[in-house]
């Protein structure tokens, strides 16, 4: 579990995060959503320690990040895996070497043990055949999967994903979402995802935090979001007519007015 306690962060006069408190649950996908410039990336960077908050603290399973010694922070970071928006793969290394890297740096395992672990995670992200390729030779979706593999190779307790679906087609986005959800549940890790992909919100959003101009505007689950009366949230989430229709359909479905298969043929008669 990760607890955010009154986080504040400014850049000069510009207040980017304004007194945000929240709890990220273990074994669940915790989504931070919001429009561009709402402060969600800065919030994530504050949580992982890439930015130092002006005030407030981040508590990882009762350990306060702010009060940790530099060595403890280093140890804590080894429990964190992160998938970056642009994947951030080391472009001078092959897919396999990218995944080997954290193992080489932080474990004393034998070559065979490391190879076994790399093969396991490559199997998990279904990239067994691409292990000898360089990042420049693979697609965006594959890069994201390599990023996930590298993030989970050390069995992290916390997984952070910054816009995992940006630049991906809807089908590949679904694959990535499913993979993240599967990993979160299988390894019982605390996953925090920054996104503005509505599919992700509805499919894997166990817990959703909506950021608006640096404030936490709303908090709930993907089931509650449908019935939310928050205007700012609704105008962000259901921005197009198509999405509003989809929301209405989902509401009717959840209220039992239409069945799960939607019986569209019957309704259209």
């Amino acid at each position: 579990m990760i607890e955010l306690k009154n986080l504040k962060k400014s850049f000069g006069e510009n207040v980017v995060i304004n007194d945000v408190s929240a709890v990220m649950d273990t074994g669940k996908c915790n989504l931070i959503i919001g429009s561009s410039g709402s402060g969600k990336t800065v919030l994530m960077k504050c949580i992982v320690g890439l930015f130092t908050p002006d005030s407030g603290d981040v508590v990882y399973d009762e350990e306060e990040f702010k009060h940790m010694s530099p060595d403890d922070k280093k140890m804590m970071r080894q429990k964190i895996g992160m998938l970056f928006q642009g994947s951030a793969l080391f472009d001078s290394m092959t897919v396999e070497q990218n995944i080997f890297f954290p193992l080489d740096m932080f474990t004393n395992s034998t070559k065979a043990e490391k190879q076994k672990r790399v093969d396991e995670v490559l199997e998990k992200v279904k990239l067994k055949d691409a292990h000898k390729k360089f990042p420049a030779e693979i697609s965006g979706g594959m890069k994201k999967r390599v990023g996930i593999a590298r993030a989970i190779v050390l069995n992290p307790k916390y997984l952070f994903c910054d816009e995992p679906n940006s630049g991906l087609d809807p089908q590949t986005s679904l694959v990535i979402d499913k993979l993240i959800k599967e990993i979160t549940e299988e390894y019982n890790i605390t996953t925090v995802i920054n996104t503005h992909d509505m599919n992700s919100v509805m499919e894997i959003g166990d817990k959703i935090i909506y950021m608006y101009k640096g404030d936490k505007e709303w908090e709930g689950s993907n089931k509650e979001i449908i019935f939310s009366k928050n205007e700012k949230l609704n105008s962000f989430i259901f921005a197009s007519e198509f999405l509003q229709d989809a929301k209405d359909m989902r509401m009717l479905e959840m209220k039992g007015k239409i069945d799960n298969d939607r019986n569209m043929d019957e309704l259209l008669k």
Binding site: L50, M75, R77, M82, F84, G86, D91, D104, M105, F106
Partner: protein, 245 residues
């Protein structure tokens, strides 16, 4: 940003490099990789420049020494001292500032912009120690060696040009080389090489490590790094000469 802000940030970067490595073997591997990339990778250009500079020095010195009272072996003395004192350390390092400096600045800049540095930080790796320190250390190891090679090749180039252009014989050149030789000059050149090596690696590393923005900024950082390094090399060259000679 003022000069002092840059200086302060540069010193903080250097201070940040001195931590216990997470894995000594990986740091050693990275150091060796940088020695090959930055040192051996620059050997070709240094060899070519040194041989030609030596050859041109011999021809031009002979062109200016027209008095029959001055022995031809003096040409070798002049070529030797010019190459050891100035051409091998300073000119080579100006060239290396372009070759190595732009490589370091663009590599680190690209890693910063594409969040690879953040990825390493998240893993708990001290990126200043893992990315910057091996580059500076590799330059401190390899550049003095390159300068010594430049001295040898420069003098050889001068000797070769002397015979090829029928200016002076090999025997006369060798006699000139040995007469009035001061070992201190080589020591002075090595001191310069170490100073320049630190500038060539440290300044571009600072520019590259602190890039903010995109591809355009990487290019700008690379250019600024090379220009600043060159100016600092010339400044250090003068200061060292004024202090040590």
């Amino acid at each position: 940003m003022s000069f002092f802000t840059h200086l302060g940030r540069f010193l903080l970067m250097i201070k940040g490099m001195f931590t216990r490595p997470e894995n000594f073997k990986m740091y050693w591997k990275e150091l060796m990789h940088q020695c090959v990339e930055l040192g051996l990778g620059s050997l070709g250009i240094i060899a070519v420049i040194s041989v030609f500079i030596g050859a041109v020095s011999t021809v031009q010195t002979a062109y200016q020494l027209v008095s029959p009272l001055i022995p031809r072996s003096t040409i070798a003395q002049i070529v030797r001292d010019t190459i050891i004192l100035e051409f091998a350390p300073t000119l080579s390092c100006i060239v290396l500032a372009g070759v190595i400096g732009s490589k370091i600045a663009s590599e680190l800049g690209n890693m910063r912009v594409s969040e690879q540095i953040d990825a390493l930080e998240i893993m708990g790796i001290n990126t200043k120690a893992y990315l910057v320190a091996p580059k500076i250390l590799a330059c401190l190891i390899m550049i003095p060696l390159l300068v010594v090679i430049a001295m040898v090749l420069g003098i050889w180039g001068g000797r070769f040009a002397g015979t090829a252009a029928n200016i002076l014989s090999n025997v006369a050149f060798d006699r000139g080389l040995l007469s009035g030789f001061l070992a201190y000059n080589v020591f002075f050149a090595i001191i310069k090489a170490y100073t320049f090596a630190f500038i060539i690696s440290g300044v571009p590393a600072y520019y590259g490590y602190n890039v903010q923005g995109g591809a355009l900024e990487i290019g700008r950082a690379s250019t600024s790094a090379v220009v600043t390094s060159c100016i600092m090399i010339l400044l250090a060259d003068y200061l060292l000469a004024a202090i040590l000679l």
